[in-house]
Symmetry: C2
Subunit: 364 residues, 2 copies
Amino acid sequence: MKNERIQQLQQELQQRKIDALLITEPANRRYLSGYTAADHGIQESSGVLLIPKKGKLWLLTDSRFILQAEEETQGFTVELYKKGLIKLLKKLLPALNVRRLAFESHYFLHSTFRRLKKALNHSVDLLPVTDLVEEMRLVKSEAEIRLLKESVLCNEQVFQQMHGLLAPGMTEIEIALSIERLMREKGAERPSFDTIVAFGSNAAKPHAVPSTRGLQKGDLVLIDMGLVLQGYCSDMTRTFVFGEPDNVFLERLRLVRKAQLAATKAIRAGVICRDVDQAARKVITDAGYGDSFGHSLGHGVGLAVHEAPSLSTRNQKKLQAGMIVTIEPGIYLPEWGGIRLENMAVVREDGCELLNEDTTGLDL
Amino acid sequence: MKNERIQQLQQELQQRKIDALLITEPANRRYLSGYTAADHGIQESSGVLLIPKKGKLWLLTDSRFILQAEEETQGFTVELYKKGLIKLLKKLLPALNVRRLAFESHYFLHSTFRRLKKALNHSVDLLPVTDLVEEMRLVKSEAEIRLLKESVLCNEQVFQQMHGLLAPGMTEIEIALSIERLMREKGAERPSFDTIVAFGSNAAKPHAVPSTRGLQKGDLVLIDMGLVLQGYCSDMTRTFVFGEPDNVFLERLRLVRKAQLAATKAIRAGVICRDVDQAARKVITDAGYGDSFGHSLGHGVGLAVHEAPSLSTRNQKKLQAGMIVTIEPGIYLPEWGGIRLENMAVVREDGCELLNEDTTGLDL
């Protein structure tokens, strides 16, 4: 049984006069085949797909992953490369009559390209492509949206459980590790990125690395966390005070929340991405904090935690129904700290639908 | 103050008539600069070094990492790329008179190469190099060996503590997570690879992924774990029975241990790598288990957990004093399980020196 995604991809290959496409990017590999293995970095691939413009589909991997690949895929011939991928391709491509082979240039090492080119010795044209499968992944099906919702809700459960366990003296690292442990206990495959837990002035760094700083009453706490459930990622940020918030915090929190709500309201199919960023940015800039909001408003989420579309000041593309975006304005003030609030939403024809249900500390 | 590593590298660049080298590989970056940031995958670099054949050294990074880069490095000019690395290089390379720029082809995306080439528009020759810094890293200094020893001993402490906590019903995942938590509590930056905990037949897969299988009395337990301490990696495997081992287990354990000791004895400067593999493999093959030992005997360890030299059936290079290798023979029997024993050792002129002190379950 060949799935619709493969059929759509093969049509695209035929139109582009590509004989076969090599899929190396892990999320694309999973999207097309169902094979769940992750790579341990680009230099330790757990396998590649070879998708011809028609006919048999291939999954090429090494002995460590053969069993898993066979269990998880349907309609793929799993082939072992004992002496490496390149030697196998050298044998397989002529047998399949492949003269024009496309590869994912954005997930392909330059050294691999050189070795492959040399091995094939001009018998095959190598065609770099980027974003071919990524474009297919942009708009999510309702089934995918359900999986994303499950991932978001599972992530929220972990957050809420941890929120209830916070106590004076706990370190940022301890909290981050506890969160990641709870994620796995609830069935997550892994965190979708390194969990950020930052107290007080540490929160002034958008990508703070958890430290041994201990939690004190009155500390500002920023937690940015996400997990992978059944392949699909979640990503959420909450910022609150451990104890009683003061007026400065409340004022800044309300500003960031106002920016988030303005952006949320601006989202619907057909709207230009940068206009959504602008809706939030205007609120923050008008309040005099424009220079403290240094990053983009949001990004797409799916099988990858960072994917298109980017809600940035530069992206002039239009939102489409079924896209998933984060809405995460923030302000960062050295010495003082930072506030970021992040939700995920699905773009609909007439607006957007929040995937989050948690409201911890959003509306004070 | 310019360090000796940089001086050695610059001499090499001058000999090869290279004007400057771009360092993208994270362990090489750390080796040369002391900058400890890790990459979140090759598509999210935390910065690159630009090492000219002489003169000022550069660390190019984005706003998230500027502070850390400045704190951790000496003798580097830290430069921000606001609009991406390629735009910065386009400006910087002509200013530095760079006409021949080398790059690390084995850690450089093909798509980045294409964009860089286009941006530079033939004004700069791009020269792929591989393993230039890796070759410098092959032989460790005594200071590095001390750090590796500390990493190994810290890893052993975690193992021994966890070994004492094992109880019926604990799952493979729980044990793996507890190990990784203990690592961080003892000051490790992170595990050096995903911890493997496998009970019974799960241990038949050399790269088993921890599952929800619960520990029972009499289970075979394989634990393969390592951590990163002050940048340097450790890697150790122990296999034991939770409860009383039976004679089949003991016989196979003694075989693997015999192979490990044979290989350990074979190691010294000047010996060919594959001969060390062969010393262990012969013991296992002679006992009739040759087909059950599917992987190589060992690999180098340093700032990366897998680096040269490989102790494989194919590596014809000679060991040099100061290299670090793992010695990890194993046998894997579907249905039954697997046994792997792994130590780390430093190659010396007249033999080898074990970095491990733990002997749990090795000699029964």
